[in-house]
């Protein structure tokens, strides 16, 4: 009488303590079951070597867009979803930075703010002029990106 699926449970640790000791006792005396257990262990190890599966980056956005259509039944044409999701992937949706339209690029370097702070700090009566001039000049001749036209006072 040989063990069958009890061996799998034994391997996965899902037997109770008494059941496990019964199985262990049997294994001590039964070569064939021991061999089967070894085979199961080997198969499980091989399964753990399976390569990672990665979805296409645009797959989630495609799916969400279709779900949107389930509800709204209008707005976004299917051809557009297909084309758009090729161009702009899920990475944008998963970041908390809101995606900007492709034309605009108005992300200014943080360093610019630090330089400006030093400029303003220079007028403080306790400012160290050598230091503030230095800090505001760290990159003296950097040309800064254009601010979009929306910045002009109305």
């Amino acid at each position: 009488m040989h063990l069958s699926h009890e061996l799998t449970a034994y391997l996965d640790g899902t037997l109770t303590a008494e059941e496990a000791s019964v199985v262990a006792a049997h294994l001590a005396e039964c070569t064939e079951c021991r061999t089967t257990l070894d085979d199961l262990r080997a198969v499980r190890s091989l399964l753990h070597t399976a390569p990672p599966i990665r979805p296409h980056p645009a797959a989630l956005s495609r799916t969400l867009a279709r779900i949107a259509m389930v509800e709204t039944r209008q707005t976004v044409p299917q051809w557009l979803i297909a084309v758009a999701t090729m161009a702009v992937g899920i990475a944008l949706l998963l970041q908390l930075r809101v995606p900007t339209a492709p034309r605009q690029s108005n992300r200014v370097s943080a360093l610019w703010y630090f330089q400006q702070q030093a400029e303003f700090a220079a007028v403080h009566p306790m400012a160290d002029v050598t230091l503030t001039s230095y800090l505001s000049s760290a990159l003296p001749y950097e040309t800064f990106p254009e601010w979009p036209a929306a910045q002009k006072t109305r």
């Binding site: 069958s4 085979d39 499980r44 091989l46 990672p52 979805p55 797959a59 389930v70 970041q95 908390l96």
Partner: protein, 199 residues
């Protein structure tokens, strides 16, 4: 300077499921939940179908079904298990529709490998990157594939697999046992090498 890309779960304020009539809140929670479990769901779909195209198809269809049924989902319970159940049902239905002949059951598989007619030479060649393990998986009948995918490949406990496959835990155990034995035949040379310490 480093940039932090925070995964969605945990960085967005907690999702609140509004009343069933609040469609926007419902859409929002669903989208967040789907995004959080997307990678795992895709992998499950891939293990079931065996190729990228069908897995995306399966997942998309299941996601739409899940969205329609979202009012039946209990917030706070495990979304992934609920979604996986829908995916598995969807997969089984699809098989029934597509196959003219009767579905394999594990009883036909006792110890001997059975070729899945879908896994022809071209598919094997296509899966060149997948390795022998995934090819062997594709050769298994669907219920065997599902239980191996959930327990051995996705690392779920028996009770989770039982919930997803809608069967008793004992059935999970016996199906898993027979599936592993079947895989042993497919992977015989590798099993031997592993046991002799060559791998």
């Amino acid at each position: 300077m480093e940039r932090v890309q925070t995964p969605l779960a945990g960085s967005v304020p907690g999702t609140t499921f509004g009343s069933a009539a609040d469609r926007t809140a419902s859409q929002e929670s669903f989208a967040e939940l789907l995004a959080a479990h997307w990678q795992h769901a895709y992998r499950f779909a891939y293990y079931l179908t065996g190729n990228a195209h069908d897995s995306e198809d399966l997942l998309q269809q299941a996601a739409e079904e899940a969205f329609r049924a979202f009012h039946r989902f209990q917030p706070g319970t495990r979304f992934d298990r609920w979604l996986f159940r829908i995916m598995h049902n969807s997969f089984v239905d699809r098989l029934r529709r597509e196959r003219r002949r009767k579905i394999f059951s594990l009883d036909d598989v006792s110890g001997a490998a059975v070729m899945d007619p879908a896994a022809g030479p071209s598919e094997v060649a296509e899966g060149a990157l997948d390795g022998p393990v995934l090819r062997a998986l594709r050769a298994l009948p669907p219920d065997a594939r599902a239980v191996v995918a959930l327990v051995d490949l996705q690392g779920l406990p028996y009770d989770a697999a039982a919930e997803i496959l809608r069967c008793p835990i004992g059935t999970v155990r016996s199906r898993l046992h027979r599936a592993r034995l079947a895989l042993r035949e497919w992977l015989r040379p590798y099993v031997d090498a592993l046991q002799q310490g060559d791998l």
